[in-house]
Symmetry: C2
Subunit: 210 residues, 2 copies
DNA sequence: GAATTGTATATTGTATACAATATTAAACAA
DNA sequence: TTGTTTAATATTGTATACAATATACAATTC
């Protein structure tokens, strides 16, 4: 079976990579002819991709002015992370205690997080950990919303990812969450997961201010 | 100042109206040439509008197969409403106690809900009531998500809106929520708001099964 | 020099054209 | 009849074209 992906979804990922790699800066205009030449595609699917990113809150647009990369702001951080916290802890409660296989895999990812010293890999692993933790949740709408929030928060994390001590604390919290789950303490795990989502917010905002 | 809206956002509203009025049926293919002729626009902004509705969960699409109106299902109802409950009660907690002006307006809308016997108007008033209740919430991402969930749930409500007793209960709950807020009981109000979001879910599913 | 108008250029928003794929049904064989 | 192949048609996906708007910059006035 051949995988036929629409161009727009491929473009979304490529543009996302450009953002992650810092090739595109916050508030930078995203000119359609320029970008479409760069990616060797026409403007139509590019616009579709940019509109999708706009709905995800990564890109903004004004009528007649076209698209630009959204700015980063303290206010947004204070919206995204607490909301992530709320949604993820709810999703965990819905998921129930994960299987022992999943718990093992969670432990394994967490160990990798401790070992790596690549901040970029850390972000990837952290997302994988959270996704896996919630993989048993059957509320797909909830999971979609969480995914959008992940992208939004990752934009900040890629931009300011030198926060060594934050990651240490986070990994320890992950461990503790796993322990709670092994003991069947779903609610405690959920509470700690919420906390885990907002750890480092203040540090992030400090970096942001500079 | 002249209000310049892109075609796509106008199209979204028109297509939404077609859905609400039952002119488009669940799972019905949305053919681009047909729709664009009907609305007297080209396919480009129409596709943009349909993609937006896809992201909102109102429309589905498969590569090469184009768009169709999403089907209605019990599973989706059981995802949407509890999520709405969670998000709205959180938003209310963030909003704090509304001003007395807002509380008055909430009472007034609620009275209209009691008076009307148009199910369609009831849906509109109910959304207005909930929006106004949360209008003081500063977390815009949260409000956006709630808005999307409102559209999703409204699709069901427009399709099966003969539930007289449900609306009675709902209006009474609204009253009680207002009373709690007047007494400064934010948390109780928030709890009841959550309950208000899931009242009628079972009745809705009953109608859905037929 | 600062502000303002006019003109050229760039950019977006929408429409159309073209190419690739999917659907239909018509012809044919088992 | 039932199923299979093939051709015709319809539909989508992408590219391009055109029109409307925005931006930049030079000319002009004060």
């Amino acid at each position: 079976m051949i995988n036929r992906k629409p161009l727009r979804s491929q473009i979304i990922e490529v543009v996302w990579q450009l953002i992650v790699e810092g090739k595109l800066q916050p508030n930078e205009p995203l000119r359609e002819v320029h970008l479409s030449k760069l990616l060797n595609i026409s403007r139509t699917p590019l616009r579709e991709a940019l509109q999708r990113l706009e709905w995800e809150g990564i890109v903004t647009s004004a009528p007649g002015k076209g698209f630009r990369l959204a700015t980063l702001s303290e206010e947004e951080v204070r919206e995204i992370y607490p909301l992530r916290a709320k949604l993820e802890s709810y999703a965990l409660e819905l998921s129930g205690i994960p299987s022992s296989d999943v718990l093992e895999e969670l432990t394994s990812i967490n160990k990798k997080m401790l070992k790596t010293n690549s901040p970029k890999e850390l972000v990837v692993l952290d997302e994988r950990w959270h996704d896996l933790l919630l993989s048993n949740c059957t509320n797909r709408k909830l999971l979609e919303m969480i995914k959008v929030l992940h992208r939004q928060s990752q934009r900040y994390e890629y931009a300011y990812m030198n926060m060594d001590d934050k990651s240490k604390v986070s990994v320890e919290q992950h461990e503790q969450i796993i322990k709670y789950l092994q003991k069947g303490e779903l609610l405690l795990a959920s509470k700690l997961l919420a906390a885990n989502n907002v750890v480092g917010v203040e540090a992030l905002i400090e970096s942001l201010k500079k």
